[in-house]
């Protein structure tokens, strides 16, 4: 028998009144993956993670953590840690005391890891202060520490870089990469495409509760078509080549250059064809990050759904 996957979700659905917050989500996260759970505000990321952690009951479907259902008891959380939204602690206790409490609730050797995890998140010198006085970034790091104290094999993080300054974001991402490098499986929700692209091997893109893409980032990039701007030594000729070339969508001239839409593979083929046709490219530049265009298309859609707020790209 093969070992159960760290996370396996089937038909997961959560309905709040009229709102279908999570709609029939299926996904499997394999051991050692860094998995991105990407979606705009209100897409259902947090709600999904809450069900993964057993905090709320699914309306339908199931979550399995290493083959165990968190609805059936807390044993399913063995080897699993994480947080949803902003990590919360007892404000009147120190950071260290909070970790001691949580380590006591974990049992096993958790308490012995406290010093180590405090230094991993660089909170050792503020650990004696009450959490009441912590900044958002410190709380976020204490949240990671609280998760690591469990010694997890699967880490579930809900937008861990939200609200951090650029340096804080960089450090948090470096930490996640380090943890993943050590073999930990990480599921990370985010509304930042750049972040997921930077950290994750696989991604599920969700929109109003449904998965609209699931696969590797590399595959996603292959299917992504973006807008390009092209200038060559002979633009008239180049335009003809573009029109003849498969995969080049809507080539047209404007503002002293040729503009078209295409996927990466088609663009590569085009530049070879141009050289062959003696219209060597002088400039061939993507006009918008093609992934980003795709992300907007996937998450905004055409079916009358309200456009989500603009996606920041870090």
């Amino acid at each position: 028998m093969t070992a159960a996957a760290p996370l396996e979700i089937r038909g997961l659905t959560k309905v709040y009144g009229d709102i279908v917050a999570v709609d029939d989500v299926d996904l499997t996260v394999a051991e050692g993956n860094v998995y991105g759970y990407l979606g705009p505000n209100g897409a259902g990321k947090t709600t999904s993670l809450r069900m993964m952690l057993g905090l709320i009951r699914p309306t339908a479907g199931s979550v399995q953590l290493f083959g165990r259902d968190p609805q059936l008891g807390v044993r399913a959380l063995e080897g699993v840690a994480g947080f949803v939204e902003e990590p919360r602690f007892y404000p009147y206790l120190s950071g260290r005391r909070n970790l001691e409490l949580l380590a006591a609730f974990d049992g096993g050797g958790a308490a012995a890891r406290i010093d180590e995890v405090l230094s991993v998140v660089e909170l050792s010198d503020r650990a004696a202060d009450k959490v009441r006085g912590y900044s958002h970034g410190m709380r976020q790091r204490l949240g990671i520490a609280a998760a690591l104290v469990r010694g997890p094999r699967l880490l579930l993080l809900d937008e861990p870089t939200t609200g951090l300054d650029p340096a804080g974001m960089r450090d948090m991402r470096a930490l996640i990469r380090r943890l993943a490098g050590g073999g930990m499986t990480v599921v990370l929700s985010s509304h930042l495409l750049g972040e997921v692209e930077e950290l994750c091997d696989r991604v599920a893109i969700i929109r109003t509760g449904s998965v609209v893409y699931e696969g590797t980032i590399a595959e996603l990039k292959r299917t992504a078509t973006g807008a390009y701007r092209l200038r060559t030594t002979d633009d008239d000729r180049a335009l003809e080549v573009c029109r003849a070339q498969p995969g080049i969508v809507d080539p047209r001239r404007s503002a002293g250059a040729i503009h078209f839409n295409a996927g990466e593979a088609a663009v590569a083929a085009l530049s070879a064809a141009l050289v062959e046709a003696a219209a060597a490219p002088v400039e061939l530049t993507p006009q918008a990050a093609s992934l980003e265009t795709l992300f907007f298309r996937l998450t905004e859609g055409q079916d009358g759904a309200a456009a989500p707020e603009p996606v920041e790209v870090a």
Binding site: L53, L55, V74, F83, P87, F89, Y90, F105, G107
Partner: protein, 272 residues
């Protein structure tokens, strides 16, 4: 060591040590008898309308008993509710339920630890109140024999024993109220609502008891059980009201606890 209900209990007590309301409640439980004793020492009058009221100048041992009678109206219910009504709701307030429910303890164990902590606090508050009242009372009126409700006198040491036993009997309705507080704390998810709600419940019980035509309900009201200890202060001891309280109080406590437990077990933790 595997974590369990005692782990939660130990940490709940630790957390109580860092919360103002704990000291507010215990402070009130300790200060009221002191203020009362001071008032007794500077004034000659005494509350005639209440049992033991007219003995407060004869012996300090009457003072804790008078406080038990007065305290039943709202002071002890409030002190009890202050922590019981907060102990689950404060997790909602701090958003920490999600933090503690994603560790290795079942929800039932967390709830159990909280019940034990709320009960411990209530017991400590009542016993502290009794101890301070005996000490302060003895200082101002002396450690002297006490006249019982039957008019007979008992020696000071035996009276002390009877006061101790009375405090324990008094804990029956107090702990039932704590359970109501825990239920409201779990359902309302709001500390203030649960504290006020518990107090309102207690006052409503007293109101029902005095409404014309509802006198028949009196023996079964929680508020009436606050008088059960008086049976100990008769000679011979009247065990009937104590036995009665011993089954009426759980009739309030256990369903409240069970309901609170089930709600806590099943609820979605979506806040915070």
């Amino acid at each position: 060591m595997n974590p369990g209900i005692l782990t939660v209990y130990r940490w709940e007590l630790h957390k109580l040590r860092f919360q103002k309301r704990t000291y507010l409640g215990l402070g009130a439980a300790a200060i009221v008898p002191i203020l009362f004793a001071i008032a007794v020492s500077v004034r000659n009058g005494h509350p005639n309308e209440v049992a033991f009221g007219r003995y407060i100048h004869q012996t300090g041992l009457a003072i804790p008993l008078v406080i038990l009678l007065f305290g039943a109206v709202w002071m002890f219910p409030l002190i009890t509710a202050l922590v019981a009504g907060d102990i689950v709701a404060s997790e909602d307030h701090n958003g920490t339920l999600k933090t503690i429910l994603t560790r290795s303890l079942e929800r039932g164990q967390i709830f159990g630890g909280k019940v034990l902590a709320a009960v411990t606090y209530a017991v400590v508050a009542i016993l502290l109140n009794g101890a301070v009242a005996v000490a302060a009372g003895s200082l101002v009126s002396g450690f002297k024999p006490l006249t019982t409700l039957s008019g007979t006198k008992v020696s000071a040491p035996s009276a002390l024993g009877l006061i101790g036993a009375s405090l324990l009997v008094y804990l029956l309705p107090i702990l039932a109220l704590a359970c109501i507080g825990l239920l409201l704390s779990t359902i309302t998810r709001n500390s203030a609502a649960a504290v006020v709600g518990t107090l309102m419940f207690s006052l409503m019980m007293q109101l029902i008891g005095v409404l014309p035509g509802l006198g028949g309900t009196r023996p079964y009201l929680l508020s009436s059980q606050f008088d059960a200890w008086e049976g100990l202060l008769r000679q011979p001891v009247d065990w009937a009201p104590i036995g009665h309280a011993a089954w009426v109080c759980p009739l309030y406590a256990l369903p409240a606890l069970a309901a609170g437990y089930l709600v806590f077990l099943r609820r979605d933790v979506a806040g915070g």
